[in-house]
């Protein structure tokens, strides 16, 4: 077990190094520097001397490898330097200020889609062939074919612009949360509904369930103790990574509903070529996702005694 965790952690560091190098060199492969992009956005051309000075200030005149090493050495201490577009806030500060919005959006989406997805999946499996089953199928087809950002716009149009029931954007009061969470939940609901249903159907057919029925247990007890417990533990394997991918924010939903989360800032950083910001968020996200995968696997092994880490080499 310990050996397994050590190996996985080593793999994690490898992935982070690969991602950081890839991001760094991809960003720097683009012709033009960050200050060209900023000047272009304001419709002006900076004099060459000014650009040279700015490049020296931010260390962009040094060789690429040296820049990369400096960045990584500081990044280990969570110091990502100053954002090129903000004079007053460091990257770490921007992330600390903006990420909570994305985390709130992500967690609300997770709770909402857990309720709907698990509910529909359980309903469809227990009452197969009834309206509940068809409702589940209909919802999951809708979630599959409707792109999230298109749904977001249609929701915004119908409920905010036409009916005036809800605000068009922002994040300051609970009424503003409804539409973004709804639009953000399509993919999670789809995954949860399908996974729960198939996992439940498998568990209900298992031999131990037949045995439990044969020895005369009540239907309620069979369902709660034997089926649910065994069916829901695999759901954790999708739930963990899903939670991680939700709390890193959504580029589309945050842009459409004007939520000042980290996804919104990342898109801006990309457009203004804000290297430190891009590198920092990319690294944090990758770390978060890989750590979640590791934790999910470990949690799964703790819950389900049948899982053993056989493939250690």
């Amino acid at each position: 077990m310990l050996r397994y965790i050590t190996l996985r952690l080593a793999g994690l560091i490898g992935v982070l190094l690969a991602v950081s190098a890839l991001t760094f060199f991809l960003m720097h492969a683009i012709p033009g520097g960050p200050f060209d992009a900023q000047a272009l956005a304001q419709n002006k051309v900076l004099p060459t001397e000014v650009i040279t000075q700015l490049n020296i200030k931010y260390g962009l005149d040094k060789p690429l490898v040296e820049q990369y090493l400096t960045f990584m050495l500081n990044a280990v201490r969570l110091d990502f330097g100053y954002s090129f577009t903000s004079q007053t806030r460091t990257v770490t500060q921007i992330i600390a200020d903006q990420w909570p919005y994305s985390i709130q959006l992500g967690l609300l989406t997770l709770v909402f889609s857990m309720i709907i997805g698990l509910g529909l999946g359980l309903g469809a499996a227990i009452k197969q062939g009834t309206w509940l089953d068809y409702l589940g199928t209909t919802v999951s087809i809708f979630c599959m074919v409707m792109p999230g950002f298109v749904f977001a716009i249609l929701l915004q149009f119908v409920f905010a612009v036409r009916l005036h029931w809800l605000p068009t954007g922002g994040w300051d009061k609970p009424a503003t949360w409804v539409l973004p969470v709804l639009a953000n939940s399509l993919a999670p609901i789809l995954t949860l509904q399908r996974f729960t249903k198939s996992s439940m159907v498998d568990a209900m057919r298992a031999n131990y369930v037949r045995t439990a029925r044969a020895k005369g247990l009540s239907e309620q007890r069979v369902m709660l103790i034997h089926v649910l417990k065994n069916a829901l533990s695999p759901v954790i394997t999708v739930g963990g990574p899903m939670a991680a991918s939700l709390v890193i924010g959504s580029f589309f939903i945050e842009k459409i509903f004007q939520i000042p989360g980290i996804g919104f800032y990342w898109v801006n950083a990309i457009q203004t070529r804000d290297y430190p910001m891009i590198m920092a968020s990319t690294l944090i996200w990758t770390a978060l996702i890989t750590i979640t995968y590791l934790l999910t696997d470990l949690a799964y092994a703790l819950i389900d005694p049948r899982v053993a880490f056989v493939k250690e080499s």
């Binding site: 991809l26 589309f252 990309i270 996702i289």
Partner: protein, 293 residues
């Protein structure tokens, strides 16, 4: 494939695989409607210059911000460009990227996956590690970074999707080849003295094509969605060239006043995604008889 002579008339006529698949597909009503819709859209995309009522790029400056009317069925935008005409020309981008990207990623993914499964050893090890690393990246972020490095545009978007999308196909084909290698007919072919090249081309590649076709059909809406999403963020197709996602992205901020600018492309995109997914699922059911209920 089947040669039927009249002398064995009492035997049931053998049908080719294609005919069988088509027969099964035809009975799937949702998939047939989707197919009709897609064929229509392809024709519209091909003959866009004949069908579109107005120029998609040059606007009429006297007609800016028109709401839908008999003159402009879906209205006009801030530069007086006809929204319907832009949606019609946008179909070229959407279909072009959706379909071409699938062909290119298959051209990359199938040989890599097949060779990996066939040769095994160090080659397989390297390919699988590369796939592991690539699939541990958050894909959309990788798309975006790569696309910015390549600076957007039609060709570069296809390249980006092919460079990231081959992983799935390669994994699929590798798995197929590994399991087919163990089948009796491949062993029989080997026992009869068939060389590796012959076995590879006639038995392994041909028999692993079915899942590849299904993954291509289901990959088209994925690529269309990616194009729309990236253009929505302003990283894909640059104006004045029209793309559905780009139209949605640019005019989404006008939704309070000029809703028709973003809502119509959004509806078209949603319908197109729906049709392609229905087609892909129908194809999957028709090609794989074991999936029929």
């Amino acid at each position: 494939m089947a040669v039927v002579t009249s002398t064995v008339g009492e035997l049931p006529r053998r049908q080719s695989t294609g005919a069988l698949v088509w027969k099964r597909f035809r009975h799937n009503r949702a998939a047939m409607i989707a197919l009709g819709f897609i064929v229509l859209q392809v024709l519209i995309a091909l003959f866009a210059n004949l069908i579109a009522p107005y120029d998609p790029i040059k606007g009429i400056y006297l007609d800016t911000y028109q709401f839908p009317s008999s003159k402009h069925l879906l209205g006009t935008d801030d530069l007086g460009r006809d929204v319907l005409s832009r949606i019609i020309f946008g179909a070229r981008i959407s279909y072009g990227i959706g379909i071409l990207s699938q062909f290119i990623l298959v051209l990359i993914g199938v040989p890599i996956g097949a060779l990996s499964g066939l040769i095994g050893g160090w080659f397989d090890y390297m390919v699988m590690r590369l796939i592991d690393v690539l699939s541990s990246l958050p894909m959309i972020m990788f798309y975006i970074l790569l696309l910015i490095a390549l600076r957007g545009g039609f060709g570069n978007m296809i390249l980006t999707m092919a460079l990231t999308g081959w992983i799935g196909v390669a994994r699929l084909v590798r798995g197929q080849v590994l399991s087919l290698k163990q089948t009796d007919y491949v062993r029989a072919a080997r026992a009869m003295g068939g060389n590796t090249r012959h076995i590879f081309l006639t038995h392994l590649v041909r028999n692993s094509l079915t899942p590849v076709i299904v993954s291509m059909a289901l990959g088209v809406p994925g690529a269309m969605f990616a194009e729309a999403g990236l253009s929505f963020l302003g990283l894909g197709i640059a104006p004045p060239e029209p793309s559905w996602g780009q139209m949605i992205g640019i005019y989404q901020t006008y939704i309070q006043s000029f809703w028709h600018l973003s809502v119509f492309p959004a509806i078209v995109l949603a319908l197109t995604m729906f049709a392609w997914i229905a087609l892909g699922e129908g194809l999957q059911k028709a090609l794989d008889p074991s999936m029929r209920s």
